[in-house]
Amino acid sequence: MSFLSKLKEFFFKNDKIKVGGGEKANLKQAAMGKMTARERINALLDEDSFFEFDLFVKHAGKDFGMDKKDLPADGVITGSGTILGYPVCIYAQDFTVAGGSLGLAHARKITKIMDHSIKMGIPLIGINDSGGARIQEGVNSLAGYGEIFYRNTLASGVIPQISVILGPCAGGAVYSPALTDFVFVVDKISKMFITGPEVIKTVLGEEISMEDLGGAKIQSEITGNAHFFAQTEMECFEQIRRLCSFIPFNNSKKANPYPAKNPKSKYAVENIIPADPSQPYDVRRVIYSIVDDSDFFEVQEFWAANIVIGFARINGDTVGIVGNQPLVLAGVLDVDSSDKAARFIRFCDAFNIPLLTLVDLPGYLPGVDQEYAGVIRHGAKILYAYSEATVPKVTVILRKAYGGGYIAMCSRHLGADFVFAWPTAEIAVMGPEGAANIIFKNEIAEAGDPNEMRRQKVAEYTEKFANPYVAASNGYIDAVINPQETRKFLIQTLQLSKQKKESRPLKKHGIPPF
């Protein structure tokens, strides 16, 4: 064969496989409102940056007539490319080929690219669109899942791992996304569950649609399994690219710095917070008032909204922000908000992202349902995560910081490097009403006018303790600051913390509460 004909054969083979499941299957995919695996990779990565691995891999099925079937690229496309100019590894399951089902060769392609991303120290992005295990390959496909989970775990805290759910991801398959750092879902396209509607109906008699059981909205609002929700696949890819701009490639690097920008002037700090601690406000407005360009990239916006988490930049450098949200449930800590914050704190700590904590909470949420749901062990996660974190930790107490909630929200006692308080801060064991009712119980009961006595005692307690100065007099707060100077102090302290070194007792690993 001549050089030219060899080249022709090469192009022919390439093109044939790259059609995936064929024209008909691709049209079907489009009819479901879904892009094909190749379209997705090209839309997500920088233009022309995709470099494909293992195009010619053939599937390993031998039984049930599978040996006679050709499955192009075995239903998964793997390779590397760049996002914003920085390298990533990626795989995308191809639903047009045998429903994106996972067989041995399919799994080996994925684990190969995972090994590559760990070795090279670059983020891994997995696009999931698969009917699940390839039943014809039996236990080999189970082995494939197990080998993926194992690598997800090894890679955890070493490289950022991103899962994108663009189709069904059910049964054992959902445990790979669950082991990764961020899960992206798209309305009406993503479906995640362990057991589907049919099994639930047969076994339990409960009837539910796939969408209501494990659709994108459910995963974003109810379960907390997903971190980012988008209306369309293109919006989802934009979100992924944005996330990549805030995080480093791996745990030995810092996030890339950007040119510093001032916050937008419409978010003037003095107009945001009502001095009365019982009045609500949106803590995100405080965030907009202190971060670069008022640009805040919120994580898990729709789940456990009583705490706000996300990324922003201060003076060009990424920070991870955790803030109580007085607008929702008065900003209490509960089972879900503790889980949400704790995981985010651990991500930031693993990837050298300084933590900024904004405090305004009345404490933990009371209730039988919370106690029965294990608020003790869930609430403990946030204590553990903050105490364990060795990245720079800066805390600003905006208003109320009561009781256990004060301790939990990155207090000095959990190792905060800098603790600031606004003059509106109230750092106390509980709110004035509750405290007065306990401390002055007898005086109030025995008074001629108990309500007047209670009012007096509440005022007395408020005057004495509902302020930042008692905590400051004990050195628990480093400075009471003018709210308008918050950004200035944050820039200074983060600058000061850049060389921070803090060591921990040597151990194999801790045993965080689950």
Partner: protein, 105 residues
């Protein structure tokens, strides 16, 4: 966020806060003490056998019913000593979760 976007009064440690509530919080199941006279289905399934009659005297651990669910014949055993007042189901009947099966006196 799942919320009706209304501002509620929300009390923690005697302080009244004004804030939105999540649907999850508003729809949470309020605690109610279990009535020890009632035996309910812990899983949906089919009643395969009834081992007692109205008026039977039973001891803790005695088998009351066999409830088949998820291909398993589950033994429903008595959680207390007492006299059966009324059996509310028949053999072969499909029951849903938390359906009342029988009542003690």
């Amino acid at each position: 966020m799942n919320s009706d976007n209304k501002i509620y009064k929300f009390v923690i440690d005697d302080t009244v806060y004004e804030t939105k509530l999540t649907d999850k919080f508003r729809k949470r199941k309020l605690y109610a003490k279990e009535n020890p006279d009632l035996v309910k289905a812990f899983i949906p399934g089919i009643i395969r056998e009834i081992k007692i009659k109205n008026g039977s005297i039973v001891k803790t651990g005695d088998v009351l019913l066999i409830l088949e669910a998820m291909k398993m014949k589950n033994v429903v055993a008595s959680h207390r000593d007492g006299k059966i007042k009324e059996i509310k189901v028949k053999t072969g009947e499909m029951v849903i979760k938390n359906q009342l099966l029988l009542e003690f006196e």
